[in-house]
């Protein structure tokens, strides 16, 4: 039983608790109870992820039950479980509120049951995608994310929600299909090299043999994978679904989409990029994968920044900000080298914490104002100081102000750009400045200003937000030794050398 003692239980509990939750929640009809069970499942998963982190620190890489924990995914797994828990806490009260407004009627009770069950399905597929050792299962899990969120986006059954869900389904479905073709090509390349071809989708086996793969096959595979999973990352021009799905779905789902799903998709691209980089090393097109990421990243940053100004819907505003931020992170991984890679990994974590906190606060703000239209949301600080100030501070953090974590990561990324490719900073800096201006232009009008008639405070539980913002602040002031160690190891894996 020695193999079982090394982290078998924590990894299984972390990933499979939500799977159990899917079935349990499908059976619970009572709204109050279902909300708590939802929180409970996310809580068990989070507690197990802490146990997993401990096991990983003690034993190193963990391989169990087809899952694999290494430097690259351990921090993302803990992050996923944490944001999952805080969103579940928020969703409990928020969805009960919705039951009396947008989900009213007999359909509402079924709708809520479906919602809770799919919420766990969404968490499960993301955790499975992060932890699986098999590139094929990774694809199945990411496709599972799409399937579980399609019905979440269309939950309110309005024509707009249906339209958003249809676009999301079609675009991501096609994207994901292309990623499967890329995965088949990787498997094909592996067939000629591996001693046991049946293991041709096992990532660690592929990684060991990555230098022997046929470069031309890997290039084409990477293009398919990048376009495929890139659709889910929200890279321009495959980003069309993202603002729609964010604005029309329930707010807890927007928080999970922006905070976690985009990271998971980028993680999938990164896994394959590591193999491609190995195969291309020494050929004339050694940095091809990186250059593609740089290109997609910068275009996404600019488009996200410009569309942010035109947004009239508060949730669309922040979804364009997500496109921009994911662009920056993609750019960071494309740039490569220890500093940029470290910055991008840290960026993934702080962006996810900040963005989900922002969306939770936005959920309360739209509830207060009764609308998502930016022009009609006014005087949040006077109506309910707690919500107004939290939104302002969270957006300050999101815009990359010190002393928050996003400042650290953006600063490191900019430093790396100046060092390695100073010309690209000409694109990067205006992109950051435009995003910054766009966020403030909109947000300061929403939090300050006179209170519209009849606007009253709502019941708001902001504790999850406070905890996440405290973490973002902490990461801005200092990076804990353990996290620094994990990120250092992950940097070594991705960039080939640890941060000096």
């Amino acid at each position: 039983m020695n193999a079982l003692s090394n982290g078998f239980w924590p990894v299984v509990l972390t990933v499979y608790t939500p799977l159990l939750g899917i079935f349990v929640l499908a059976l619970i009809g009572r709204a109050q109870r279902a909300g708590w069970v939802n929180v409970g499942c996310a809580g068990v998963s989070f507690a197990a992820s802490i146990w997993l982190a401990w096991a990983y620190t003690v034993h190193g890489d963990i391989v169990a039950a087809g899952l694999r924990i290494d430097a690259l995914n351990i921090s993302l797994v803990v992050l996923n479980a944490l944001v999952g828990l805080s969103t579940a806490l928020f969703s409990r009260t928020y969805m009960l509120e919705m039951l009396s407004t947008r989900l009213s009627g007999a359909r509402g009770v079924h709708g809520l049951r479906l919602y809770n069950s799919l919420f766990q399905a969404f968490l499960f597929t993301m955790l499975l995608a992060l932890t699986t050792a098999n590139l094929g299962v990774l694809w199945v899990a990411v496709e599972g994310c799409t399937l579980s969120t399609v019905l979440l986006v269309s939950l309110y059954r309005t024509p707009e929600a249906l339209e958003a869900a249809w676009k999301y389904f079609m675009l991501c479905g096609v994207g994901i299909a292309l990623a499967l073709f890329g995965t088949v090509l990787v498997y094909f390349a592996a067939q000629h090299v591996l001693p046991n071809p049946a293991q041709g989708l096992n990532w660690s086996v592929l990684y060991t043999h990555r230098k022997q793969f046929e470069p031309t096959v890997m290039i084409i595979a990477f293009v398919f994978v990048l376009v495929g999973y890139g659709t889910k990352v929200g890279l321009v021009p495959m980003h069309q679904w993202l603002p729609d799905a964010h604005s029309e779905g329930p707010t807890p789902v927007s928080a999970l989409l922006s905070g976690l799903l985009l990271n998971v998709a980028l993680y999938a691209v990164l896994r394959i990029k590591l193999l491609v980089d190995g195969a291309l090393a020494g050929t004339p097109s050694a940095h091809l994968a990186g250059h593609l990421l740089i290109g997609f990243g910068l275009v996404s940053l600019l488009v996200g920044a410009l569309f942010l100004h035109r947004s009239r819907d508060i949730k669309r505003l922040f979804s364009y900000s997500s496109i921009g931020h994911m662009g920056m992170i993609t750019f960071g991984f494309g740039l490569g080298g220890p500093l940029a890679t470290f910055a991008a990994l840290l960026y993934m974590i702080v962006h996810s914490l900040t963005k989900s906190a922002v969306f939770i606060t936005v959920g309360h703000a739209t509830h207060i104002a009764g609308t998502q239209t930016i022009d009609h949301i006014r005087g949040l600080i006077r109506t309910q100081p707690k919500v107004g100030w939290t939104l302002l501070i969270a957006v300050v953090a999101l815009a990359g102000f010190p002393p928050f974590g996003l400042f650290t990561s953006e600063f490191l990324l900019l430093g790396a750009t100046m060092h390695r490719a100073p010309l690209l900073a000409i694109v990067l800096l205006p992109g950051m400045a435009i995003t910054f201006a766009g966020l403030f232009r909109h947000v300061q009008r929403m939090v300050y200003g006179p209170v519209p008639a009849g606007q009253t405070p709502v019941r708001a539980n902001l504790w999850p937000v406070y905890v996440q913002m405290a973490l973002v602040l902490w990461l801005g002031l200092t990076i804990p030794t353990l996290l620094a160690h994990w990120l250092g190891q992950a940097t070594a894996l991705v960039a080939g050398a640890p941060l000096p």
Partner: protein
């Protein structure tokens, strides 16, 4: 039968798979397009079975059976029922630019051959042909989703992309590991059911015939709840 005969048989069947894609794109009515899709699924299943027989890969027999059940029977049956339920059997949707569409489709097939050429320079010529055909089927599915604005037709395009992907996996690598194939089949089935749900919803709103009319969401719209 000798190996060579079976190889040519596989090639002919693969060519028919591609032909089924062309038929799906050019049909004006939905039911013939669904029938073409069902035939395509059956052909893919037969190709899989033949590859299992020549390569002595018993696992592939299972995949072949699964494909036949799912792609040739279950999903076409589901779509057929929906089309009848929504009274779409007599609905015609002529292509906007039929000649342009066919030219584009042919160009995509040529592009697929060009793209696949360096990939399989070292493999058998039959692998190269089938891989090129499967990529072409994927791209033709994509083309169908672009040129058709009827929701059911778009879903057919989507599903025939999956056929192309499956053919690629079978021909290039003699099938993916079993757990992956089961996962993919499960995803495809769930997707088919979800599409059914969507058709019913869109049918209520009258947007089934023209998905292009789904254009409410942009930056100029107010977000009032």
């Amino acid at each position: 039968m000798s190996g060579e005969v079976i190889q040519s048989l596989i090639l002919i069947l693969a060519a028919l798979v591609l032909f089924a894609s062309f038929v799906q794109i050019s049909r004006e009515r939905l039911l013939p397009a669904i029938h073409a899709f069902a035939w395509q699924g059956a052909l893919v299943a037969v190709v899989t079975g033949l590859i299992a027989a020549t390569g002595h890969v018993p696992g592939l027999y299972f995949s072949a059976a699964l494909t036949f059940l799912l792609k040739a029977l279950l999903i076409p049956w589901l779509l057929h029922r929906l089309v009848r339920h929504l009274k779409l059997a007599r609905h015609r949707e002529p292509l906007g630019h039929p000649i342009l569409t066919v030219v584009l489709a042919v160009a995509l097939v040529i592009f697929s051959y060009w793209l696949v050429l360096p990939i399989v320079a070292h493999s058998l010529s039959s692998t190269r042909n089938i891989l090129a055909i499967s990529l072409a089927v994927v791209l033709l599915g994509l083309l169908m989703m672009v040129v058709r604005s009827q929701a059911v037709a778009q879903v057919l395009g989507f599903m025939s992309m999956e056929n192309g992907l499956f053919l690629a996996a079978v021909s290039a690598t003699q099938g993916m590991p079993l757990v992956v194939e089961l996962g993919v089949a499960f995803d495809v089935m769930v997707a088919a059911v979800l599409f059914g749900v969507f058709f019913l919803e869109l049918g209520e709103g009258g947007e089934l015939h023209n998905v292009d009319r789904l254009n409410r969401l942009d930056e100029t719209r107010d977000g009032d709840l």
